[in-house]
């Protein structure tokens, strides 16, 4: 009997694969009605994301508007945090619900897109949307 028990043990040890830990960002998917034109309360902040290579740091970020150049994810987080109303004094331009539009190119890697999305979440914005590829 002990032989069979050992065989079972080896089988389960080999067959078991542990599930890796996963997390997720929630995003609402409202239905689009192209017959209606939605008037936004404020102009969204558009963040262009482009991949220049495979590595985490190989992404190019550009902000649409008269903003300083942002060259990394950390700088993007700092920019979003420092321009947030109610934080760092009264100089904030964007409220927490200000629409943030992340616009990757067709070739942008998903990892880089998610990195930009995470930057906006880290800065505690709640109205973040992934736009059509540019």
């Amino acid at each position: 009997m002990i032989d069979v028990v050992f065989l079972l043990l080896i089988y389960f040890m080999v067959a078991t694969e542990f599930k890796t830990a996963e997390e997720s960002f929630p995003m609402d998917l409202p239905l689009r009605d192209y017959r209606q034109t939605i008037q936004l309360d404020s102009e969204p902040l558009v963040i262009f994301v482009e991949s220049a290579g495979d590595k985490k740091s190989d992404l190019r970020i550009r902000l649409d508007g008269p903003w300083d150049t942002v060259s990394s994810i950390e700088e993007l987080v700092l920019f979003l945090q420092s321009n947030k109303a109610g934080r760092f004094g009264a100089s904030g331009l964007f409220t927490e619900t200000h629409p943030i539009l992340i616009r990757p190119t067709k070739e942008t890697r998903w990892g880089h897109t998610i990195a930009a999305y995470n930057a906006a979440v880290r800065a505690k914005y709640v109205n973040i949307t992934l736009d059509e590829p540019s």
Binding site: V5, L8, T20, M27, D28, L31
Partner: protein, 145 residues
């Protein structure tokens, strides 16, 4: 000099503790092997630094996997045990809609970190076309303990 005791009795190791431990190990592996998520296709999920994400609720969601190929291209989509070819995107909308009507409230989108956004966006639009305003969960790699 004569040996004491009964010469016919052999010395046996006590196997009971080892069998106990072995049974415990078997029970452990039997239990653990049940929690493997069979909906998830193996891939390198995005792992942004200092991620501020939540833990997805796998019970209430339908998992949509974008199966990666090399150079950011995709082989197809795996959802709820069905493999869908890339040019049959309407099937994805149908399956997601069926699952949402069956009680699911969320759609978990799993894509490889190298997959081009062009493909991910098409899948998001197909999920949106299923209607019923589901909540999309963009799945990333969790922090390693």
């Amino acid at each position: 000099m004569a040996r004491r005791g009964n010469p016919s009795s052999a010395i046996n190791a006590n196997m009971t503790p080892m069998i106990d431990v072995t049974f415990l190990l078997i029970v452990f592996f039997v239990v653990v092997s049940q929690i493997v998520d069979r909906d998830a296709v193996s891939m390198d999920l995005p792992a942004p630094s200092q991620a501020v994400a939540g833990i997805p609720d796998n019970q209430s969601g339908v998992v949509v996997n974008i199966v990666p190929l090399e150079h950011g291209d995709v082989a197809g989509i795996v959802v709820a045990g069905h493999t869908i070819a890339w040019d049959s995107m309407h099937e994805l909308s149908d399956i997601v809609e069926t699952r949402l009507r069956g009680g699911a409230t969320e759609v978990h989108l799993r894509a490889d970190r190298t997959t081009k956004y062009l493909y991910v966006h098409q899948v998001i639009e197909a999920i949106r076309a299923a209607g019923l305003n589901p909540r999309l969960q963009l799945v990333i790699e969790g922090e390693q303990p």
